[in-house]
């Protein structure tokens, strides 16, 4: 089953703790001004999906939302 993860963030909630950039550096970074989350990859490849989910769970401000969509195409 192929799953597409879509990452959305609420930068107003973000407190710049950096848990996301620490946990999933391929998916998240922080800006240099206020340390707030920057999404590097809104649809991370399968190799980075687990880290992205972890990062969402660890966010101290619950500022990251991960939505999974099943994108399997059924062959006839």
């Amino acid at each position: 089953m192929a799953v597409t993860l879509t990452i959305t963030v609420d930068r107003d909630r973000c407190v710049g703790a950096g848990m996301c950039a620490l946990t999933a550096p391929e998916v998240f970074d922080q800006d240099d001004e206020e340390g707030r989350v920057v999404v590097l990859d809104t649809e991370p490849a399968p190799a980075h999906q687990a880290a992205a989910r972890h990062a969402a769970g660890l966010c101290p401000a619950a500022a990251i939302t991960v939505t999974a969509t099943d994108t399997t195409t059924h062959q006839q």
Binding site: V15, G16, A17, G18, M19, A21, L22, T23, P25, D29, Q30, D31, D32, E33, E34, G35, R36, H54, G57, L58, P60, A61, A62
Partner: protein, 414 residues
């Protein structure tokens, strides 16, 4: 006006009789178990992760000890950090009123005041910026290991290693002349730990005077550091002094204790020490496990701003909650065999840096410092060991931040 809880089916029945008696906050660790939370604290968590607590001044509040309930409380903005609403869990301060947070003391503020300060600082402590300091931390660490080698075959690891490395880093970042740190550190210790009110006031005045001249100097002659950068923000001098005090005090007294107590813990767990020494790439996850296992900054305080139902209990507005992060980080519901130091464990999700909007601002700096310092120490001194029996290592009585006062160590000359 508050709803009658009995009218709401979502609110459970009152406490079971055997659990309704408020307890007092256990603070004494068992002899011979310097790394473990007080036994009663562990027992309370296993019985009831959220229970009634009697404060020394008579206030009946709550004690949170389970991982999930502690995390939920810390994440919930309806639980306030405002100092003036708190009751002290350690002593009865009598008729003295807790003052509200001083300007810049954003640790004890809620939104939006807290966020105004935090966003000015968070960009200075990002994962990326802190990793850029790795080389500098390596250099400072190597300098201190060199000095230890030159000193002979025995030192107090706290004064030779654990304290100076994070102190140099935070002084450089903030822009505080390193030679000034000792008097600052002494005065800060007096403010936080002394029982003598006159001494406290004198130390407070001295620190204010010191930071006042430092802020003035940064305004007239800015240098490349955080305090100088902050003079370009809308913060007043008073606020800058408050922020400077908070960041400096936090930088001097936290990682230092992790390095001291952490080394003691590693020396007391030779198999874990051997694992880290033989595989320095384990450092990142070893640091997380040491953070979980030791949880030196504890407890946290929160106060309910309204009636809040959590974990099946009703916390009333005005009730203070002691959030025990050390108990939470040893919760068997979260971590199997929680009382075992296991550097191969995935300790993610620990609450050692807190959780929620106030989660430690300097955590990424602390991670870099520890990931460098622990393996460097173990690699440089393959025969490092305690120079005294473990029960003679003096532990800190500070109720806010735990650690060792000194750590006498020795090693064989090559």
């Amino acid at each position: 006006m508050h709803d009658d809880p009995s009218a709401n089916p979502a609110v459970p029945a009152p406490d079971l009789a055997q659990h309704s008696e408020p307890v007092t906050l256990p603070t004494d660790r068992r002899k011979g178990c310097p790394f473990d939370p007080p036994a009663e604290l562990t027992q309370y968590r296993d019985e009831q992760p959220l229970r009634r607590l009697r404060f020394p001044d008579g206030h009946i509040g709550w004690l949170a000890t389970g991982h999930s309930v502690c995390r939920a409380i810390m994440a919930d903005a309806r639980f306030s950090s405002r100092k003036e609403l708190m009751h002290d869990p350690h002593m009865d301060i009598g008729d003295m009123e807790m003052p509200p947070a001083a300007p810049g003391e954003f640790l004890h503020m809620d939104e939006p005041q807290h966020g105004r300060y935090r966003k000015l600082l968070a960009g200075k402590f990002t994962v990326r910026r802190m990793r850029l300091l790795t080389e500098r931390v390596e250099q400072v660490t190597a300098d201190h290991l060199d000095a230890m080698e030159k000193a002979g075959t025995a030192v107090d690891l706290v004064s030779a290693f654990a304290k100076p490395i994070p102190a140099i880093m935070i002084c450089e970042l903030l822009g505080v002349p390193y030679q000034d740190r000792n008097s600052f550190q002494e005065q800060a210790a007096t403010i936080f730990n002394s029982d003598n009110l006159d001494d406290k006031m004198a130390a407070y005045t001295a620190i204010q005077a010191y930071l006042t001249q430092l802020v003035a100097a940064k305004r007239t002659e800015p240098t490349d550091d955080i305090l100088s950068d902050l003079t370009e923000s809308d913060l007043t001098d008073e606020e800058l002094i408050g922020v400077g005090f908070l960041v400096l005090a936090a930088g001097l007294d936290t990682t230092a204790n992790m390095l001291g107590l952490g080394t003691f813990a590693l020396l007391s767990n030779p198999d874990q020490l051997a694992a880290l020494r033989s595989d320095p790439s384990l450092a990142g996850q070893a640091v997380e496990e040491l953070l979980r296992y030791l949880t030196i900054a504890d407890p946290m305080l929160r106060v309910a701003l309204e009636d809040i139902e959590i974990d099946g209990r009703l916390i009333k507005a005005g009730e203070v909650i002691v959030v025990s992060l050390q108990a939470a980080n040893r919760d068997p519901a979260k971590y199997p065999e929680p009382d075992r130091l296991d550097l191969h464990r995935k300790a993610i999700g620990h609450l050692a840096f807190g959780h929620g909007a106030h989660q430690c601002l300097g955590q990424q700096l602390a991670r870099v410092e520890m990931s460098v310092a622990f393996p460097a120490l173990l690699t440089r001194f393959p025969t490092l060991r305690l120079a005294v029996p473990p029960e003679e290592v003096p532990l800190r009585a500070n109720p806010g931040i735990y650690g060792v006062q000194s750590l006498p160590v020795t090693w064989d000359k090559e």
